[in-house]
Symmetry: C2
Subunit: 298 residues, 2 copies
């Protein structure tokens, strides 16, 4: 498969399909980049786009899309429910195959430098690319939103990593950062008791003492008359799916409840599932080079 990274940019345009299509065309125009998915949200006035490809192709596609978005989207008139600070609001770079996080950090800096220099847009590096701990969390960077950025860019400790300290009025500010792929993973319980789902979510959630790289909520699935532990696995290499599944199963047992099934929403890196097989089969000395498809791609 070679080196593959994933990019999930968010654009502050969720209502005008024609405009989004022009941005998507920029991604489609790059050989080696492959558009996988996009979704527009009218209330948020925001679109989430997913594409993958070789590192070079992804950087080029991200740059072209950001450039096009800076032409088409005017932040000075932007309204929408979701917090935002730029036409291209955030560009996460995600290692998928044969790429390290460190490489993605280097790539994010390269992209930030180019966007800052060529497009005159201020860039903050976030997550694994952050230049200081207070910039790791995207919410902290975006605090104040577009309207507060003119001041923020010049305030102490908030000089941009790339680009001008004077706000680009039309395009705002873009956050760029390397992060782990996120796996959206839900576990369904054989009960309609929401309290049980909430208690289990609390038990596995990193913030409340559970697994560090696990976010979880208990929710109702009314049409199926069951409840669900809705999970975001934010680093499956450190908090693996099987450990969360097994823990939810044990916790549910306390209440006499069974897991009826689980769901992976959207895309998942192959490795996250291979790790599950490795665990349950108690594999000894298994390495991923034994997977035919991997070997073929080497």
């Amino acid at each position: 498969m070679g080196k593959i990274i994933q990019c999930v940019p968010n654009f502050s345009e969720g209502r005008n399909k024609a405009k989004l299509e022009l941005i998507l065309d920029e991604i489609r125009s790059v050989e080696g980049a492959k558009l996988l998915d996009y979704s527009m949200d009218k209330d948020h006035n925001r679109s989430v786009v997913t594409f993958i490809g070789s590192p070079d192709a992804v950087l080029e596609a991200a740059f072209r899309a950001t450039s096009k978005a800076s032409q088409l989207i005017d932040m000075s008139g932007h309204q929408g429910e979701h917090p935002r600070m730029g036409a291209t609001d955030v560009i996460p770079l995600i290692p998928i195959s044969e790429v390290t996080m460190e490489e993605c950090v280097v790539l994010s800096r390269k992209l930030g430098d180019r966007i800052g220099r060529d497009l005159g847009i201020s860039v903050y590096l976030y997550e694994k690319s952050a230049s200081s701990p207070n910039r790791e969390n995207l919410a902290d960077i975006r605090k104040g939103q577009y309207e507060g950025m003119r001041e923020k860019l010049k305030s102490e400790g908030w000089a941009p990593d790339f680009g001008p300290t004077d706000l680009n009025i039309k395009s705002g500010v873009t956050a760029i950062g390397a992060r782990m792929p996120l796996v959206a993973y839900n576990i369904n319980l054989g009960t309609d008791n929401l309290e049980i789902a909430k208690k289990i979510a609390k038990a596995i959630r990193g913030k409340t003492g559970g697994f560090t790289y696990c976010k979880a909520l208990g929710i109702e699935i009314a049409e199926r008359n069951i409840v669900q532990v809705s999970i975001n696995m934010i680093d499956y290499t450190k908090t693996p799916l099987f450990r969360v599944f097994d823990t939810v199963e044990r916790e549910a047992r306390r209440y006499g409840v069974n897991i009826t099934g689980s769901e992976i929403i959207g895309l998942v890196p192959m490795e996250a599932l291979i790790d599950v097989a490795d665990y349950y089969l108690r594999l000894e000395n298994f390495h991923k080079g034994q997977i035919l498809e991997k070997r073929m791609a080497e």
Copy 2:
């Protein structure tokens, strides 16, 4: 990943490395074919070669290798412990990715036709490609070995599927057939009691009433002071790894014995492991298009 098939030809030369290298060079010379592995056995005087690639590339590489083997190997002087009937003894074609078994059967006929016609070698189709039930099993086809082929080719019911009914003295006969990928899978038990491994092997083995697509033996691993159920999974899509693992675990429990681990020997198709994850996580509505690497390759 596109269409990928695997080919595991066996050549009747296991002593002369230079000759084998010339055969391997033929495979290496085909763009889109990738040599993954080979092993020579002196006692058997036989080599097993593994390569993969697109259907066209694999057919071309198999043909070129067979052609070279017919020049370099003289069966009229061949000696070795393993049963054999031709310079290129057998050519299995194995669907790996986005290829059906039916497509592999068609390919095996195409390859057989070309080898019969251009190289003047008699070809029997076997396994899923067999032209009659008594030709499915390779051992039945090879019965009589090289020395008996002159007569066999002309005997009732044994006319070759392709090529001459007069034996090619130098090259002998080649079997070609489509078959499922084989997964070599061993399960280790926390005991040194060989009888337990043998009993469990008997319980899961298709021939003795177990799983249809499972071959199994109980063996001793002397250096680790344990016993092992050594398994060939001959169709993991119909007899999946997780079912065999779970059954071995339950059977072992009867004897108060635990599984200490399992091993996959050599290569394994990604799908065989994804199916394991799917089972243990009780995934609902999962489809393989959700795997990023698959999606990337589409």
